[in-house]
Symmetry: C2
Subunit: 222 residues, 2 copies
Amino acid sequence: MPTETSETLPVRISRILAERIISGQIEPGARLRQDHVAVEFGASHVPVREAFQRLEAQGLAVSEPRRGVRVAAFDLREVREVAEMRAALEVLALRHAGPHLTRAILDEAEEATRAGDNSPDVRAWEEANRRFHRLIVTPCAMPRLLAAIDDLHAASARFLFSAWRSDWEARTDHDHRAILAALRIGQVDEAAAILARHVQWIGSKPVRTAAGGTRDVFAIQG
Amino acid sequence: MPTETSETLPVRISRILAERIISGQIEPGARLRQDHVAVEFGASHVPVREAFQRLEAQGLAVSEPRRGVRVAAFDLREVREVAEMRAALEVLALRHAGPHLTRAILDEAEEATRAGDNSPDVRAWEEANRRFHRLIVTPCAMPRLLAAIDDLHAASARFLFSAWRSDWEARTDHDHRAILAALRIGQVDEAAAILARHVQWIGSKPVRTAAGGTRDVFAIQG
DNA sequence: ACTCGCAAAATTATCTATAATTTTGGAATC
DNA sequence: GATTCCAAAATTATAGATAATTTTGCGAGT
């Protein structure tokens, strides 16, 4: 029974698995067994294999030749690596998008920022945050660059959800507003500089857990 | 009959197909038919499909849902896009590699530059050039970043081979030497600046063809 | 002569089955 | 009691077969 037309089976499977990996529903290092996934989706292992390869290309899974594929593990070093790659590529994209930014786009980005500030949970915040970033870089019209940025956002979201597992407190995003202010007066370089700092700002700081205690964990912004 | 152990069939197939695409042996837009490839490699279509997906992830092929996969086309805009992404990411990598660069590595990079200057054909030059770039960025020890750079190099090589199809004239690479000179005295920022210009320098200029005439084509350096 | 449409061929996508490899559990041994 | 070895189970990887879709070629009609 086709749940949705015009989306191939491997794409569908990889998308759903990606959601689970990003949200932390499947833990890092967990094995992805093709038969189990196949029966769950009522499919054979062939499309499942292709879905696995897709996840591997996105950096969400790693495959050892004859031993199957696991959810990719990640550590603080990789968090920093992804953040720096995002900073470099989003700055590049913003520089090219700058001349094509319209008032309407910036208004929509501001709306996304407001939505982020009023988010009830991390998930909603991440969605709004990603919308903001995507809005201001999309007009660069560089498909390969945008695809790479999307993959990095997926990795960032993973880290984000793993840090704030249970408690969440929304706060106003001053960086986003500063970026928009600079863009509105045509100062693309200034906006890019703020964006670079904003994305790259990844520090290790204590975060309250649901139990009330504190643990050392990384904080992500951007 | 395993030709080589410890390399999976899909990896092997995608590697060989990638070589053909990069070298221009298979033209942009050409269809890749899974059955034909399968019989050529004495395999079934399952590994071939996975090889195709790999190529798609590298940006060397594009797949339309029920219509098969074609060799990715490319135009001047994409050449520029890849060059700018390379500039951004290689600069990032070099900045991190800087502190870990040793005299031995720089010597090896200089040897690669010499090999490039003495290359008899484009193919040899490209190989030496890639060795140079890879040598100076590898010590950054950021696997995701290095993998992304590798894919971009593959795309660059494609453009390069398509431009200089037949005639080739080696010239000394002053940029590489300037980068090395800066690195030897610890001026990583200066080296990064030269690298950015070096990679990004992609202009449209007439190139002599084998027939002796000139045609408008892009020139790639880096 | 050109266009439209239908049928045949080719091709893709998926499923089922088989082979090869790895993991797992337990028993025998040190 | 811990360790090593072997066999059974599980799992991955590939092959062969089937269904569905697209492309192609030919003929009829205008």
